[in-house]
């Protein structure tokens, strides 16, 4: 059974003339690493907000269609109930940390849920270790770097032990090295504890290689939905304005000139160089 399922969803923000997303039907299976991408304004952020109930409860507005997450209809459950099953990490590291120490921030969700102190302590330490920020636990959120702040946000979500973690452009404000670290952490979580990951990103060059499912949106609708290697090897994705990884683009350009490097579309520089090596060394 799909862990996230939407059926013909349309949403219009209050006061807006047109819906931000329409006819969105998609499924995410348990344990998947899904990448959602598309040009600015395509509706990916709006879609994310539907997964934990911020839409419709926080944003009000008009929601049509069905959104079922972890077996629950989001319109029937408050956001704080959904929070136990799906965690949301936002774009701006600074604006999702409120406490005066890192570990208090990680405990925030558990405190809200009324957990007993010993259980909280265990979960907080577990989450801090998973995201490799245990040494920072007594620091103030303002003192740590942007990349570290995002790891705190991820730990704060993990502490509630949801089945799904949704990240909305978490590395927008980070430099490429910190961004890579965040993606590594997320990928490891997906592999180690089997948490379903939904990642909204522009930086396909850094993330395409981790995903086993990609959804491309444009102007509020889903345009492509499937395996990354297939989707990113088509001409159409480029035309929408999605920044496919340069390695993939080079592969496509060579293919157009008649060079066949194999059927498996590369999504990273390692994969492409392996293919090229194979072609150059073969006799």
């Amino acid at each position: 059974m799909a862990i996230i399922e939407t059926k013909n969803v349309a949403y219009t923000y209050p006061g807006a003339a047109n819906p931000s997303i329409s006819e969105v039907s998609m499924k995410v299976e348990k344990g998947e690493f899904v990448l959602i991408t598309g040009p600015s304004g395509c509706g990916k952020t709006t879609l994310c907000r539907c997964f934990n109930g911020l839409i419709p409860h926080f944003y009000q507005g008009e929601l049509k269609g069905e959104v079922t997450v972890s077996g629950m209809d989001v319109t029937q459950h408050q956001t704080h109930e959904m929070a136990k099953h799906v965690g949301l990490v936002f774009q701006n590291p600074e604006n999702q940390l409120f406490a005066l120490s890192v570990e208090k921030d990680v405990a925030f969700g558990l405190e809200n849920l009324g957990f007993a102190r010993e259980e909280m302590r265990k979960r907080v330490d577990w989450a801090l270790n998973l995201t490799d920020i245990y040494d920072l636990r007594e620091r103030s959120p303002h003192e740590v770097s942007g990349g570290q702040q995002q790891r705190v946000a991820i730990a704060a979500v993990l502490a509630m032990q949801p089945e799904i973690i949704v990240l909305d452009e978490p590395t927008s404000f980070l430099d490429p090295l910190s961004a890579e670290k965040i993606f590594d952490v997320i990928y490891e979580l997906n592999q180690k504890i089997g948490i379903t990951v939904v990642l909204v990103e522009h930086r396909l060059d850094l993330t395409a290689k981790y995903a086993n499912h990609i959804i491309i949106m444009d102007e509020g609708k889903v345009c492509f939905d499937g395996a990354p290697r297939e989707i990113l090897s088509t001409e159409e994705t480029r035309l929408i304005g999605v920044g496919i990884p340069k390695a993939t683009l080079l592969y496509q350009l060579l293919k157009k000139e008649g060079v066949n490097l194999g059927d498996v579309t590369p999504l990273s520089s390692d994969e492409l160089s392996a293919l090229l090596r194979g072609a150059l060394e073969a006799k």
């Binding site: 936002f90 570990e103 102190r117």
Partner: protein, 261 residues
């Protein structure tokens, strides 16, 4: 501003810093009450001197003195506000009692400011927030407090960035008459306010996403525990109050004028 320096928490580890904020607060309230009870110089001076060992123990002398200097302006104002009416109403004559009274009132003000200064200098905002939570102040208030403190440095940096951005567009903040200078703050205030609103929205989203409002019985990762030092402080507080009330009721406190003629 130096008076604000006296209120900023300093991260130093001293026995005073580790005391429970609730006990410290009770102590400060006790000082407050005693300062109001007495209008004579001698007991007020005693109260002032009483704080000095605490300041030294907490190693916050420099900041404390700085806040004294900051309060000096207001203290002078209070002194004048007391002495000048006396001057006029007694027919342009000032007695020693008049001087003494005005000095006493000023001293009372100083004692109040200084005791709060020591409190804020030695209590971290998280400690304070925790104390608020544990004294069953509704969580919304302690949360608003700690969040505000958390974002003060962020807002300060943002204000600086905004000023830089506007200066880079030719805004000259030092020039012009008073009215123009006030208007020059609009391009700084508006982005700051808009940004604060946007920030609040993002914070609210994050809070909701982390189960805010799930139960009314919110728990806490930390717990404030009372230790020996706290009971000692409590004993001192009760002692001071007891002595003060006894003296107030039974012992006539002489004024300096009465003592020295």
């Amino acid at each position: 501003m130096s008076v604000f320096d006296g209120l900023k928490y300093r991260k130093v580890y001293s026995p005073i810093h580790n005391l429970d904020p609730r006990m410290k607060f009770l102590y400060v309230i006790a000082l407050f009450v005693v300062a109001i009870l007495f209008g004579q110089i001698i007991p007020l001076l005693a109260l002032f001197v009483l704080q000095i060992p605490f300041v030294l123990l907490a190693r916050v002398q420099k900041q404390w003195l700085r806040s004294l200097r900051g309060a000096a302006f207001l203290a002078a104002f209070i002194f004048l506000a007391n002495i000048i009416p006396r001057f006029f109403y007694s027919g342009y004559v000032l007695t020693a009692a008049d001087w003494e009274y005005s000095v006493a009132m000023t001293l009372r003000f100083v004692v109040l400011v200084e005791s709060f200064s020591v409190f804020f200098l030695t209590t971290s905002p998280d400690h304070l927030g925790l104390a608020l939570e544990q004294t069953h102040v509704p969580y919304e208030f302690s949360f608003a407090f700690t969040t505000a403190v958390r974002f003060v440095p962020v807002l300060a940096e943002e204000a600086q960035t905004i000023m830089d951005a506007q200066k880079a567009r030719g805004l000259e903040m030092e020039k012009g008459n008073f009215m123009k200078r006030i208007r020059n703050y609009i391009p700084v205030l508006i982005p700051l306010i808009v940004s604060a609103i946007r920030r609040s929205l993002e914070l609210a989203e994050a809070m909701e996403s982390r189960a805010w409002g799930a139960t009314k019985k919110r728990t806490n990762l930390y717990a404030l525990k009372l230790r020996r030092g706290d009971f000692a402080l409590l004993a001192i507080t009760v002692g001071i109050l007891a002595v003060a009330i006894y003296v107030y009721l039974f012992v006539p406190v002489p004024t300096l004028v009465q003592l020295f003629g």
